[in-house]
Symmetry: C2
Subunit: 286 residues, 2 copies
């Protein structure tokens, strides 16, 4: 039954676009999580040597295949957590959760399916990446109460064209619009996120789009040495934030130790765990 | 003897950094070209159905493996062309060549090694990409008379760090500096090129670095249908040129039909075949 999580994923994929923030997608995401956990019960947990201060990691193993690194503190192998979250979302009341609890639950959903794919496919980065897009864009759409688009019309004197974008949430007149890039990791490709923000600022005016990328993690595992590191480029981020565009928030499901320090430099770059989004979304434009 | 081009490539790789614009590298590049041509003599040429107006393409085939698309008009399977170029470079006099002749010669060197790798490796994009970087950065370094760096120091109030960059050629005081990204193709990743230019403009001042990316081609082959298309995003390029930064030239070895038209829009984006570089390098800053 090793294809059950993939079947749930295919079902999610089929219906996802109908109502991105809707309850049906939340149910389908829950199915993927439950079946991924079932699958991972048969995998061995292998501790990794973490070179990141204060963070412990393991990987799942089946035979020759080793999954990506899993943050031991962040990972919850318990479907009931998602069910509690699901019930709270249904009542539109997350007040009984802390930001860190929410981050752990959402991290667990994402990483369990990623690890399932790592253990059953070869070099498949696309499926985990697309699932992560589904998960995060669904949660944004639910929270903001509006479904996203991924194209935007550009009218500019003698030019009328549409620009493909990351997820864009248009909350209507006199309210902020959100620009949401979603990545499982960024490395040197991260400059694209700032560049897209720059284009939106340039075409529509600075401040109209709040750039709030959501990233899973920046870990990298050396499979031979069984070591985990985080690949971070904090000085480059500062240069991008000063010279390309300003991102409002950078949310992580597993916040890299190095990037936490960017909250303290000047000008600051605000890096937070994703759970905070649910409590600050309404006030981010202020 | 199917590993001979790779051996020549390894030899080039070993000595490349010693004097990037030097004659030894030109000789080593010639070896790679000659041995790649020898290898390709044993491959079949298979015509592709070109969906690009006015351009014909074929691919090399050995058994199951099909190479990338080769522009039939641009490709010269004759080592003597490179030898003539080499002799002219030695005398520092390219006046007997037209820009299009130079483009064809350099295209042929690049594409023959790329096709060799396509036919002998699986999914190896890195080796052709690195060889193309060697080829183009060598030619730039020879023409400009200075070797490139790929890091630059950023001093900014309380910040002192180095920024990794594409190839940077510093011609000294009161002369332009060149910012040279080198890519075998760009697609949607091209926004990085404009973003890096923006960072250089922001950190050092607009106009100090001339952005002159060199790109091999934008073809994409459908191996099943045997069709070739070019993937071009002209409207996005215009938006990037207006809102991120200004690139001075975009050079191609096989200029995409769609991008030629960007020379005629306003504001223009100057897209040319790479051979022009050798005749306009000295006047580009004007």
């Amino acid at each position: 039954m090793s294809d059950l999580p993939l079947k749930s994923y295919a079902a999610l994929q089929k219906t996802f676009g109908a109502d991105i923030g809707g309850a049906a997608n939340r149910k389908a995401i829950g199915d993927v999580y439950r079946r991924s956990l079932d699958f991972l019960k048969n995998a061995k947990r292998e501790n990794l040597r973490s070179l990141i201060p204060g963070k412990d990691y393991f990987a799942f193993r089946i035979g020759d295949k080793l999954s990506r690194a899993v943050n031991a503190t962040q990972f919850i192998a318990d479907e009931r957590q998602w069910k509690a979250f699901d019930a709270a979302v249904e009542k539109n009341d997350l007040s009984r959760f802390t930001p860190d609890q929410l981050t752990r639950i959402i991290y667990s959903v994402a990483i369990s399916f990623c690890c399932y794919i790592d253990l059953t496919k070869s070099r498949d980065q696309k499926t985990p990446g697309t699932f992560f897009e589904y998960l995060i864009s669904h949660l944004f759409a639910w929270k903001l109460g509006v479904n996203p688009t991924t194209r935007i019309q550009v009218l500019n004197l003698d030019m009328d064209t549409t620009l493909p974008t990351d997820f864009i949430f248009n909350l209507g007149k006199d309210r902020p619009k959100f620009h949401l890039p979603i990545k499982t990791s960024t490395r040197e490709r991260v400059i694209q996120v700032w560049a897209h923000q720059r284009v939106l600022d340039g075409v529509f005016g600075t401040g109209r789009f709040l750039g709030t990328p959501v990233i899973l993690a920046e870990t990298k595992t050396d499979a031979v040495k069984r070591e985990v590191i985080e690949i971070c480029l904090p000085d480059q981020w500062r240069i991008y934030q000063m010279h390309i565009a300003q991102l409002k928030r950078i949310y992580y499901l597993d916040v890299p130790a190095t990037y936490v320090k960017l909250n303290d430099v000047f000008p600051p770059i605000t890096v937070k765990s994703f759970g905070h989004f649910f409590f600050e979304a309404d006030t981010l434009s202020a």
